[in-house]
């Protein structure tokens, strides 16, 4: 029940709450769902990114990095618990 809840809450925060809250939600969600930071970052950039700002889509990039780290940690923890 925790996994769907954290995923849905993180996604809702993208539209309804300031982006700082979304970042916190995504970091928290990474503990149980490693792909959520990447998904939330991508969604943030899909909704708000404008290439004309001259910036990189930093939320997708940041989300991908966090998801990568979370996936590695998850796989290590799983391997150790077997």
């Amino acid at each position: 029940m925790t996994r769907p809840a954290v995923t849905v809450v993180t996604f809702l925060s993208v539209v309804f709450l300031p982006w700082q809250v979304t970042v916190l939600c995504a970091l928290g969600a990474a503990v149980v769902e490693p792909f959520v930071p990447l998904a939330a970052g991508l969604l943030l950039d899909v909704l708000y990114y404008a290439p004309q700002t001259g910036l990189l889509p930093r939320f997708t990039i940041g989300g991908a990095l966090i998801s990568l780290v979370a996936s590695v940690v998850h796989s290590r923890v799983r391997a150790r618990s077997m």
Partner: protein, 279 residues
């Protein structure tokens, strides 16, 4: 002999095999595809969500304010702040116009609001992390890239950078690392205004310019348009320069609608080459 049977797997992926994070990722990728292929459909689809988000954010603000103060006081405070912003902007604009008012250049003046195109704001900071406003007006309504966006108080906010049929996007002057040429103070000292995100701006300037808190910062437009006031001067004794923290005259977090105007500024490049001579 005992046989071992392996569970039969479907050759195709099914949603039940995917984690919630992976499902979310698929959804985000699908939305990305929709935005890239049919941007207008995407904005039509998401605009109602943003409007609900706006209402929720407004309710949150009132709710949180009620803890420290009465909700009425918070609302009154907001109204007074907006009125103050409007008055400061108008005052600065009038002061500038008085300086410019000579028979030679009076032609350049225009009545505020004349020829403006009103547009509702669909998405704004702080939900939008790039200091970009999404407007519910597009090329069908006459919006074009390079038009300048103004708050209801008359303060300039940014420049239209992207237009689709029914929607457009304004990159605010406060967008992170955005560099805009402008002027500051009574002497109209030419400066480069740098966006810091979240509605904040800063300027690095020589200490010799003697800029003080309360001096007005201008950007090019028809003449010099007041963008904000110097709210703080960070002075490091070991450096010959000071950093001016600029407080915008209009808060982009609370802008409900903007006025769009073709000011002759075609894009950010023009802001960067603004000369020290007021236009």
């Amino acid at each position: 002999m005992k046989k071992t049977y392996l569970a039969r797997r479907n050759a195709l992926f099914t949603l039940t095999e995917l984690s919630w994070g992976a499902r979310g990722l698929l959804l985000a990728v699908a939305l990305l595809g929709v935005r890239l292929v049919t941007p207008d459909f995407f904005w039509h689809m998401t605009a109602p969500l943003f409007r609900v988000g706006d209402a929720v954010a407004g309710a949150n603000h009132t709710f949180l304010s009620s803890f420290g103060h009465a909700a009425g006081v918070a609302a009154e405070n907001d109204a007074l702040r907006k009125e103050n912003e409007s008055l400061v902007a108008m005052n600065a604009l009038l002061a500038q116009k008085v300086e410019q008012l000579s028979p030679d250049n009076a032609e350049g003046l225009r009545v505020k609001g004349q020829g403006d195109l009103r547009a509702d704001v669909v998405a704004r900071p702080p939900e939008s992390p790039y200091d970009v406003l999404t407007l519910a007006r597009g090329s069908r309504d006459g919006v074009a890239v390079g038009m300048e966006a103004f708050a209801p108080s008359g303060a300039p906010l940014g420049v239209v950078a992207q237009v689709s049929d029914d929607f457009s996007r304004v990159v605010l002057f406060s967008s992170p690392n955005r560099r805009t040429a402008g002027w500051v103070g009574r002497e109209s000292v030419p400066v480069t205004i740098i966006g810091a995100g979240g509605g904040a701006l800063h300027i690095s300037l020589s200490r010799a310019a003697n800029i003080v808190v309360g001096d007005v910062v201008y950007v090019p437009g028809p003449g010099m348009l007041p963008l904000g006031v110097v709210g703080r001067v960070d002075d490091d004794p070991s450096s010959p320069a000071v950093t001016l923290r600029v407080r915008p005259l209009s808060n982009p977090f609370s802008v409900g609608s903007v006025a769009l105007r073709a000011t002759g500024i075609r894009g950010s490049a023009d802001f960067l080459v603004a000369s020290s001579t007021p236009q």
